[in-house]
Subunit: 333 residues, 2 copies
């Protein structure tokens, strides 16, 4: 079973921070549009799938491809977004993470965690052995890096852009630290504080779900899931029932510290060895050049497909098919 | 696993139709308050549990008692209510059934069924053998009787009041039939039409969930679930995987035609032989005098408890305990 947690943060609208949408303003619609695309041929809230400013398709296409192969159940969870997705979803909150340069990002953190935990507890009672939790959160690598820094990790998160806007991210984070009056590591023993000051509602929701559910949890995502693993560890959770599932594009990203930070935290990871170099479509080939990389639980969806006997190549082939379908119906970009 | 589907219809605000709330206006809050009470010591949206105008406690107390004994998972589903419950819930719609004397009750019926079906399909993929679906829908026995009549059943639904307001119900229904220009049985072959003209969002949601989920479905409720069974049958569903679970108070209600109508439809039923005559509390003893009778999946929750080896007496004892807790914290009525 896969949960896809949707989150928005105002941080995504800072020009240059996020390419999870054709424009900074459109990043607000990316989470619901991703969710809708998983169930329909194209989103409902907007007439095209989310793309980068240069037209690269959302990683939801990978999740959808794996879903079409394996037919695993997907439950959408609204952690906190501007708009509700137009598909059935679990409502946790409708608050959006605020711009942490100006104010606390998430004063509602405890309520969100409580709600998500309550739902995670119900899932636990279904006797599922494992849940996979993905996310769609534009701007989320910046909130993740801010949280990792607040917890004291010397980490750089990844980006959906091939040239990671690290200097902009660091400038934004340092402004936030100045506002909150802390240095790196200032909340090493206060994970809830780190989340409240710099996090986003997706993180709080995944924390709550993970704490409510007692079985194995696959955190399906890139460096954003490192921040969540670090928060869980700081909250005293035993990480042995957790694993990150991501893609090779994240793990091999030299602009981020994925491997080192995973080791520092002590969380194991799987990465999908997807290869889009043979795709018929430039929008997909460009994944090999550092575009997009991960999101919407892509790595975790491949993990579910591989466990059922499919290969990463099968998934890549299906992704090509889906992209072709999108072009036929005019639902791309 | 139990789903509790929340629905509102404007019909509940017609004075004298519904006692699922201390006043007609308060019936609007009953579904979210019921849902919240299942998870907390008292509701959040309002400071007291739902009661009848005479102070009899919501049947959610029975569901909660069974849940405390068995610890089964409960997932709240917002079929369509004025307000969202302040607990995690699956969002299907936020529309309320309209007063069918003046206009179509539910123009959104197809969209609601589609959404609920999509969620039911995800549940199906979890390989659950059975789901239990309860409801909280003030005014719902009137919409149910209207739907049963439109489908051609000569049925009288039950009521949460000891004196069933049948003549008022019939007058309201006949006004609706006049507005829609039909006679009894006018939509015998058009279940969607019956639902659109006279139904409520809870019904549409339960239909969708039932059609998306492929395993056994326990329709946990009284005469409202008869309307749903009749709709499913008219839609061509094989009723052999369906069962109604209700209470003895519904089955023995001479003002309704539960037994006869269940037979006419061809749906089997279980009824919980709860006995509140030995309760220490008048509010509960009065269930034996025809107050409340059923709701919030009470009969289905007892069914789940009985399957786990508890008796109806165990549940009744736990209900007394919960009522005492409510009085201690001042959360009653």
């Amino acid at each position: 079973m896969m949960l896809v947690v949707l989150g928005n943060t105002e941080i995504s609208t800072i020009p240059g921070i996020s390419v999870a949408g054709a424009t900074p303003e459109l990043t607000k619609l990316t989470p619901p549009a991703d969710a809708e695309y998983l169930f329909y041929e194209k989103p409902k809230i907007i007439d095209a799938i989310p793309v980068t400013p240069e037209g690269h398709p959302t990683p939801a296409i990978i999740t959808k491809a794996a879903k079409e192969l394996v037919d695993f159940p997907i439950v959408i969870v609204r952690g906190g977004t501007y708009l509700a997705p137009l598909v059935p979803h679990v409502h946790i909150s409708d608050v959006v993470g605020r711009d942490f340069r100006r104010e606390k990002a998430l004063p509602e953190v405890e309520k969100i965690i409580e709600n998500a935990k309550l739902f995670g507890e119900q899932l636990s009672k279904l006797n599922l052995r494992e849940i996979v939790i993905g996310e769609s959160t534009p701007g989320g690598t910046t909130t993740a890096q801010a949280v990792l820094w607040a917890l004291g990790y010397d980490a750089r998160t990844s980006s959906a852009a091939p040239s990671n806007p690290q200097s902009l991210k660091e400038q934004v984070i340092m402004e936030g630290f100045k506002r909150a009056g802390i240095e790196k590591g200032g909340f090493a023993d206060e994970p809830l504080k780190a989340l409240e000051e710099f996090g986003d509602p997706m993180m709080a929701t995944v924390i709550g779900l993970s704490q409510g559910f007692k079985g194995n949890v696959v955190l399906a995502g890139g460096t954003q899931m490192l921040a969540i693993a670090a928060l869980l560890k700081a909250k005293g959770e035993d990480l042995s029932r957790f694993m990150i599932a991501t893609t090779k594009w994240v793990v091999n990203d030299e602009s981020s510290t994925f491997k080192k930070t995973a080791k520092d935290i002590g969380i194991i990871y799987y990465y999908a060895e997807l290869d889009f170099s043979k795709s018929r479509f430039k929008g997909l080939q460009d994944y090999e050049r550092g575009y997009v990389k991960e999101g919407v639980g892509a790595g975790g969806a491949v993990w579910l497909a591989v466990k059922k006997g499919f290969t990463a190549e099968d998934v890549a082939k299906k992704v090509d098919e889906l992209y072709e379908r999108l072009m036929e119906i005019g639902g791309k970009g």
